[in-house]
């Protein structure tokens, strides 16, 4: 079990789970968000192969209003 930060919220998960599985588990729909891990962009095509490490900082972003 590892602990990661998702949008500044601590979450426990298994290191064997893919990012794709984790996003789904956390309630995000992968087509409607964009993801960065430790401030590096992770393209959607890499979600299945991406595995998180203990202490990783994950940002899951969605469209909002902007100026």
């Amino acid at each position: 079990m590892i602990t990661v930060s998702v949008n500044n919220e601590s979450k426990d998960c298994s290191s064997s789970q893919s990012l794709s599985e984790l996003l789904s588990q956390w309630g995000f729909e992968s087509g409607k968000v964009a993801v960065a891990v430790n401030e590096d962009f992770v393209p959607r095509s890499k979600y299945d192969s991406c595995r998180l490490k203990n202490g990783d900082k994950v940002d899951v972003l969605a469209p909002v209003q902007g100026g």
Partner: protein
């Protein structure tokens, strides 16, 4: 009565009619946002990305509403303070909004949200190499604008004044100098526009367009103000095309002096 002028302009190979770019933030409600954007006549709408929890709908409601407007979307990197943050957020925006257009913002000072010129140029250079079509938000500094053009930006967006201040064009001389020295690519005054008269002034200076958000979104009646800005941009553009008279130091009568009554040679 004359209809809106039919001239168009080109941004990164795409042709547009409206010279007003509008933000999607700060409106009193989503419905007012849609109505104001529609009334403004803008073709291009700025958007952004932020953390959203699934319970909040993950941004889906806003996304669906935005798509209904059928506008060209220009994602921004608002709030980024470093090249790294801006480049990462740009890549996330490109994937989610499915566009390589990007309004690049790298803040250098939080007090007045002044763009960091050095980081903006560095980030722009990296993003151009990554295939982005960069719209850099920058200060009204001629050399910064020239450097941004040199690294591959085909549109420049110097500020009128700091974001949200509504102070208009703080330094028309600087903006005019940028226009004169960079005549060959589109220039957009971005930020600080508060009133339609500021928009007219920007277009009269020869700027190709303006980008604003707060002036419409926070107006007493955003939809009516959107209409006012639509007409202001049209008026400013007509004035630029028509050519204003040169300023003079001394008065010059407009009524004919020939045939003036009550005058007799003594």
């Amino acid at each position: 009565m004359s209809s809106p002028i039919k001239d168009t302009w080109i941004l990164y190979g795409e042709t547009f009619h409206s010279r007003l770019l509008i933000g999607s933030a700060l409106y009193p409600s989503p419905a007012v946002m849609s109505d104001a954007i529609h009334e403004s006549g803008a073709d291009i709408v700025t958007v952004s990305l932020r953390r959203q929890s699934p319970e909040q709908g993950g941004g889906d409601n806003f996304w669906r509403q935005l798509k209904k407007l059928n506008k060209t979307m220009l994602p921004n990197t608002a709030g980024c303070h470093s090249v790294k943050e801006a480049v990462t957020l740009a890549q996330m925006s490109r994937e989610l909004f499915e566009t390589d257009w990007l309004k690049l913002e790298v803040v250098g000072d939080d007090y007045n949200l002044q763009p960091d010129p050095i980081a903006t140029i560095d980030a722009a250079a990296q993003l151009v190499k990554l295939g982005f079509k960069v719209f850099p938000y920058c200060t009204d500094d001629l050399v910064v604008c020239q450097r941004l053009r040199d690294v591959g930006c085909q549109v420049l967006m110097p500020w009128g004044s700091p974001i949200g201040t509504g102070r208009g064009l703080m330094n028309p001389y600087n903006l005019q100098t940028i226009r004169e020295r960079i005549p060959d690519i589109p220039l957009i005054v971005d930020a600080g526009i508060g009133k339609p008269s500021h928009a007219v002034q920007a277009l009269e200076l020869g700027y190709d367009g303006i980008l604003l958000n707060t002036a419409i979104a926070q107006a007493g009646n955003p939809v009516m103000m959107a209409s006012a800005f639509r007409h202001a941009v049209d008026a400013g553009r007509r004035a630029a095309l028509a050519g204003a008279v040169a300023e003079r130091q001394t008065a010059s009568p407009s009524t004919p002096t020939l045939g003036m009554p009550f005058w007799h040679q003594s």
